[in-house]
Symmetry: C2
Subunit: 399 residues, 2 copies
Amino acid sequence: MTTPTLPFAARAAGLVGSIIDSSTSLLHKQSHDVVRLAMGSPAAEAVPSEILAGIAATELSAPGAYDYAATEGDPPLQAALLEMLHGSSDQTTADRLTITAGGMQGLDLFCKIFVDPGDLVTVESPTYTNGSATALSYGAQLLEIPVDDHGMDVDALERLVDEAGRTPKAIYTIPTFQNPSGVTMSLQRRLRLLELARQWGSMIIDDDPYGLLRFAGEPLPTLRELGGGDPLVFAVRTFSKIVAPGLRVGWVDTAPELQPLLINAKQAMDTCTNLPGQRLVTGFLTGGHLDEHLIKQRAEYKRRKEAMHTALEEHFGDRARWTDPDGGFFCWVTIDNVDTTALFEPALAEGVAFIPGSAFSPSGRFTDALRLCFASTPPDRIHQGVARLRRAVDLLAKG
Amino acid sequence: MTTPTLPFAARAAGLVGSIIDSSTSLLHKQSHDVVRLAMGSPAAEAVPSEILAGIAATELSAPGAYDYAATEGDPPLQAALLEMLHGSSDQTTADRLTITAGGMQGLDLFCKIFVDPGDLVTVESPTYTNGSATALSYGAQLLEIPVDDHGMDVDALERLVDEAGRTPKAIYTIPTFQNPSGVTMSLQRRLRLLELARQWGSMIIDDDPYGLLRFAGEPLPTLRELGGGDPLVFAVRTFSKIVAPGLRVGWVDTAPELQPLLINAKQAMDTCTNLPGQRLVTGFLTGGHLDEHLIKQRAEYKRRKEAMHTALEEHFGDRARWTDPDGGFFCWVTIDNVDTTALFEPALAEGVAFIPGSAFSPSGRFTDALRLCFASTPPDRIHQGVARLRRAVDLLAKG
């Protein structure tokens, strides 16, 4: 039979992801040596695979390890998580915690519960692509708020919301070691952001996957802490960057009165978070592995960021600027007079992968910028990758 | 501080789930002996935990077992799944398969991609609560189509759509051993359903979690097979009922041109399906365990259904009717002059749990019906549970 085409257009959910998708698709097709500075994954050697395999041997032989979990999360994980957060800036109570399939599902849950078509949602510019994509998939109107070296420009937020003539339903921010820029929102701005949200009655989506990966500077209180339990703050967290991304285990910290809605919404998404992954995280936490693991990772990520800065200085000192993150995974590089989307294929041919800047803006801004992930590549390879990137820039200039 | 309330109503995503939620919440609080005929889980002893634990010992020590997976699914699982489906009614090709976080995510993906606010979606009446909930969460208008002993009444579908004055965007069906009724759509109706969908340009959501659990009667071709690759058929499948629900691994089989959209939409849901769960399913399939496992489960579920029928005949022969499923998990029981929602608490006090019928209808129909799961309880306990149910009915009648 001939294949009929669909009689109506499928909605282009998450269309902004297309640059990343085509980039990663191209990347998978490369057989030659490529320095992968593109994806935001922990280094393979940063994933505690041996410890997790050891935990699997006991936890996944326990009765019920493959059953449906409670939709709000496996009770032992909730208990271990409460203990982990005790004394931290994210200290909380059991009635505020819901386990999710990674941080991404926290964002999806927020949007499923709160975002109606046409609602205004502000996003940082640049921002995490899949975060803005999920808001778009529920029909949000996005308003991009500039980011500088001190995080989201909260004065610009106030001005742009004023110009929009209506207050946002939600303000989406990654306040610490932001994806993709690596910058951190100052304390003063965090406090002002909370003031504005309260004044407007807007929810804040406080997405903080990297906060525990600080390798320089002084810790800042999270928006969760500064909000003091305010239901306007919807905190999204994940084990993806600090333990292992493939487990798909994260959590949200919200006003307790939201939990019944979160449970209803999550039941209509995936019923529950996979239980083996929850049990593995539980074992990792109760086994006391997290602190040592984080100390090791922070030191290594610091070394890698410094290697990236040295390499950028060497190869791009004359024609680019870059951010100076105190933690996390990413540097954001702006190169004079280069179209970074056009740069992607020649760079791949030279043997280096990155994500073009326009992937991080729903309106396609930042055509002269790119995101480099320093976390997943050892220092010598970072040097090699940045040198290749410079060669690609020069080749592109020559046509 | 006092906790301010939210300044706007959170959307009641999945509100129809509330009866089930409050039921299960009540259930969790029971400390006495309760025969649990409520939830649609495989029997604890039906989950091949020992085999999976053995697979975990090898698969979860392999390199990369905790990394991000490809959004469309781990290639070894896709390969094993293709092989599993070869020669079955769901035989397919690699470009049509996308791995999901259980069948539930398949339904959520469908709605995220296709359902716009106000779109008409038909659901069976009664239907799977979380299926209708996810459609509602994207703003669908639901139209309930009666189900009889031969599945969805396709003549009624035609008539009700005609009365609605517009064609549906999607027709949601569980054609085989339906949840909650246990009935199976006849071949004639399957063919007519496909004709109507083509005539209207409507998508069919072919949700078939139980099809491999047939213990009586002759197999029928799936809508996937009858559709012959028609892009109008969106097939949703899962390992939850045939291997283990806690793994959260399922798949959708769709027109290849939908896969880029599925990848985009899934990236904005959970990035990828948990990789340990995918590796465990891969090991189960490539280890050749599925066939023997299914043979065993089918025999046991048959025994349990027969036990339930015998018990119903004994205790309700005078005042109830029930369906006669050829497979799957559920019997649907209609009791004369009983409000099954009001029955829930007294039944729990007597020591038996079920789901009231109205939970399976977005408009709250079936107040005199209830769903019993025979799959997760051994025959002697099923007898005990049905006897208790009768006592609760008599107590309720006495006031």
